[in-house]
Symmetry: C2
Subunit: 208 residues, 2 copies
DNA sequence: GTCTATAAAAGGATAGAC
DNA sequence: GTCTATCCTTTTATAGAC
């Protein structure tokens, strides 16, 4: 392959669609938008994708397959403590909000709420993306298990971290003010501090 | 007015649009959908509303003006304790999820994420709806202030309750399983329990 | 595998009679 | 204030030459 070899049609479409869905949503992005951005013709796109929904599916698969490389690894570089990794990930969202002038929306969350009558394949991919995200958090919690209260529902707490991110992003975007996100994260931090303190407290003390 | 007097066009359109936006989203609801459901003709609708966005605005104003009567009062009937009122409200969402076969989405949250490039008037109304919701929670927290830690950021905690609801609803809908919502609420309950315990603890103890 | 042209349908909105 | 008909644009998707 020559150095300036263009990416294949499939990749170009997926990357363009990803940006457009992120910026405008799925329904508000037309095939014409994708063609215009990729400089492709309709024939090329429809040669690879049967229809618009198949582009969406490819985008969701891209997110699914890239979470480690595109999200977690950059967020966790140089951060070893598993609890701090959770807040390092949230800090990355803080910066994504700031860098988009408070218009950032989680692409998965936005699609999950935009698509009311989603095809089962699409819905399954949305769910898988959520699961991969919260499972990554759960692995952090597992690593820190000995500092956390015995019997803690780590899966539930991991899902709660996802909830904090999604709710914080939603409010920051609606108010166009990252402070809404930050206040949510601060409460979550407080929650973790209390959990760590509870776990550290001597057994004799009435626990709770 | 006769007992069987029909509601005026404006009200009929708003109620129908509310249901349709809730079920299908804003972009996926056509004017034809609204006309079909209300049994009105295009002329009648456009006589009252300049365009589709004005219908959306009227719907958001309806939510804004009806939160007390339609949401808070029913949720809080027979519940006096302010902290329990918070969880009574969340319980109401639990049942809305169940009654919709796990397809429930918060109408405001869904619109907030669906409308990526919303008109300022629309965005302002979305924000006002969020504010009214979390302010209602904040009033509960104010009532319970003496049982909560001194210096607690009650506004932030109220926003965090909204986040818990929105994140829980989002996950329950995506997974089509109310258990995701319930687990989130359980963590929030744990958070409140820790806050109440912290506030009740004698001052001498290192209060972290 | 890529190109242009276009089909076919849906959607928002308007005109003008009544 | 309501009715029907229709305009105009956008959008998804396809046909068929190259």
């Amino acid at each position: 392959m020559s150095p300036k070899e263009k990416q294949d049609v499939r990749t170009r479409v997926v990357l363009a669609a990803m940006e457009l869905f992120f910026a405008k949503g799925y329904n508000s992005t037309s095939i014409a938008d994708i063609l215009s951005r990729t400089q492709l013709n309709a024939g090329s796109l429809y040669h690879v994708f049967p229809g618009k929904q198949d582009v969406l599916i490819a985008v969701l698969e891209w997110y699914r397959d890239g979470i480690e490389e595109n999200l977690l690894r950059p967020a966790w570089e140089g951060v070893e403590d598993p609890i701090e990794r959770i807040f390092a990930l949230l800090d990355r969202y803080h910066w994504m909000i700031v860098e988009t002038d408070n218009t950032f929306g989680c692409p998965i969350g936005s699609l999950a709420l935009e698509l009311h009558e989603a095809d089962p394949v699409v819905r399954e991919l949305l769910a898988v993306n959520f699961t991969n995200w919260s499972r990554a958090i759960e692995r952090c919690l597992d690593e820190a298990a000995d500092r956390l209260p015995a019997g803690l529902d780590r899966r539930a707490l991991a899902e709660f971290v996802l909830t904090t991110m999604e709710g914080g992003v939603m409010q920051a975007r609606t108010y166009r003010d990252v402070a809404y996100f930050d206040r949510n994260v601060a409460i979550l931090r407080d929650h973790f501090d209390m959990l760590l303190a509870r776990a550290a407290r001597p057994q004799g003390e009435f626990a709770r």
